[in-house]
């Protein structure tokens, strides 16, 4: 099993709502939340390419931002480091880093056909 970063998040004790970012109370039912960890693996729900970035991101454009459903975990928003031609709705992604308050993912490596028996 290759090493993959875990995602720390929060789950509502009452209704099970999960979020990757600290929430004071559950946005759905105002229930109390507890910290939890999730696998750093998920699937792309939708994505875009930012070509006209906000202040501070000018040197990075174009870049891919996606909404991702984490396996058995919350829906999140984050960057995908691959080029836009490679990204598709439904692509599997792996968490790469959580630097500077933004989650960054890359497309999950496909099995190398030369090594698969």
């Amino acid at each position: 099993m290759p090493f993959s970063l875990q995602l720390t998040g929060y789950v509502c004790r009452k209704c099970g709502w999960a979020d990757f970012h600290p929430v004071n109370l559950c946005p759905r039912c105002s229930g109390e939340v507890k910290q939890s960890t999730f696998a750093g693996e998920g699937k792309i729900v939708t994505y875009t390419v930012i070509r006209y970035p906000p202040k501070g991101f000018e040197n990075q454009a174009p870049y891919v931002v996606a909404i991702i459903d984490i396996e058995n975990g919350p829906r999140v928003i984050g960057r995908v480091s691959n080029s836009v031609d490679e990204v598709k709705i439904g692509s599997s992604v792996t968490l790469l880093s959580t630097r500077e308050d933004a989650l960054e993912f890359r497309l999950s490596a496909l099995p190398n056909p030369d090594t698969v028996p």
Binding site: D19, F20, H21, P27, V45, T46, Y47, T48, V49, I50, R51, Y52, P53, P54, K55, G56, F57, E58, Q60, A61, Y63, V65, A66, I67, R75, V76, I77, G78, R79, V84, I89, E100, D101, A102, L103
Partner: protein
């Protein structure tokens, strides 16, 4: 309960690049509305605006505008609900009137967006999302709407070409509106070949950057005829909210706040979608225009573009939509757009819309969306004969 009516309307042309101040713009629109109502003194002033603090380093617009209008001493309020600030300001003013504490109320909204670098304005608009967990990804507001568009097209098998009919409709309608920012006919190929801004959305899918102000004067319905021969009743004014962030929703191809606010508004006004003669929706991006047709009850989910295919949203169709050009072509000075919609609907229902007129329009609905559907204001207006 007291009922509210619009007794005066005013608005500036929407432009980019002028050196006019927030105050100049607001006073022009407000003075028009006051003159239209024949009123000199009001009981309170409500000012809708989103970004004056960030872009102009100016807050306290309530007192600023009341002073500029010679209304010194009245209660004043700045009302902010991102791009729905105008709609939310009208809702606040209507509630003030309901309270009985205020009788003649001026509500206006203003936004000045031109004259700043695009990344600056882009950053300002992102303040409508969550600063802490979404902005650090570098996503923009166009980007969030682009993600909605991509999922919508994928889920419902709708082509970009079908959605592009919305900006084409708005540009056609704006040709007849002398105050519109973009009075230029475009076709589907213009939209589909314009530069990508945030894939799949292109430049002509997106509203532009503009400056403008609009205003209305409200009074209790039972005395409205003292001021004008054709007052317009505010038959419903509702607001609903949703999560601040798009990613926090299980389904991003519908705005729950639109459905909720509209459902309540229909009930309060005692009308159904089929009774709406003229519709103004928040088409900041082409996809939002299509989604609005569905969320407001005019089409099944995923089939909003069929209304466009069939010409139903044209001014001579069954559901005339964005009759002055909408956000796309009339212009979208963000915090002011919700008030342009109300002012335009009132003109329609007073039969004063000139070349934009929908003959015989009696009931109109306006949808003003703040952020990524996080605040939605719905107004239903009805002509009083």
């Amino acid at each position: 309960m007291r009922e509210a009516a619009v007794i005066g309307v005013g608005m500036t042309s929407i432009t980019a690049g002028s050196r006019r101040s927030l105050t100049d713009l607001f006073v022009e629109a407000a003075k028009q509305a006051l003159d239209d109502a024949g009123v000199h003194r009001v009981d309170s002033v409500y000012v809708g605006n989103m970004m004056s603090g960030f872009l102009q380093n100016q807050e306290h617009l309530g007192a600023l505008m009341a002073t500029a209008l010679g209304q010194e001493g009245v209660p004043t309020y700045k009302v902010e609900g991102a791009c729905a600030s105008g709609g939310v300001a009208v809702n606040a003013a209507v509630k003030a009137l309901f309270s009985g504490l205020e009788e003649i109320v001026l509500v206006g909204a203003v936004e000045k967006m031109s004259g700043y670098a695009t990344p600056e304005v882009t950053t300002g608009l992102m303040m409508a999302e969550d600063r802490l967990n979404v902005a650090p990804t570098g996503v923009t507001f166009v980007g969030l709407n682009a993600m909605i568009a991509r999922e919508y097209m994928h889920r419902y098998r709708v082509t970009h070409e079908s959605i592009a009919q919305f900006p084409v409709l708005c540009h056609r309608n704006a040709l007849d509106n002398p105050k519109a920012q973009f009075r230029k006919k475009i076709d589907l190929q213009d939209v589909l070949q314009s530069p990508l801004v945030a894939d799949p959305l292109r430049l002509l899918d997106c509203s532009g950057i503009g400056d403008g102000a609009a205003a209305v004067v409200l009074a209790p319905k039972n005395i409205a005829k003292k001021f004008t021969d054709c007052p317009v009743e505010v038959a419903a004014s509702t607001i609903a909210s949703d999560t601040i962030s798009l990613y926090q929703r299980p389904n991003i191809t519908t705005f729950e706040a639109s459905k909720q606010a509209a459902g309540r508004a229909y009930k309060i006004a005692g009308v159904k979608p089929k009774d709406i003669d003229v519709l103004e929706v928040h088409d900041a991006f082409s996809i939002l225009g299509v989604m609005a047709l569905e969320d407001l009850g005019f089409a099944e989910k995923g089939s909003g573009t069929q209304l466009l295919d069939e010409g139903e949203c044209n001014r001579d169709g069954r559901l005339p939509t964005n009759t002055f050009g909408g956000l796309k072509a009339r212009g979208h000075p963000v915090g002011a757009s919700g008030l342009y919609q109300i002012a335009e609907l009132a003109m329609q229902l007073k039969n004063e819309a000139d070349k934009c007129q929908v003959p015989g329009a009696e009931v109109g609905l306006a949808q003003s969306v703040g952020g990524i559907g996080s605040t939605v204001a719905i107004h239903i207006l009805r002509g009083i004969n």
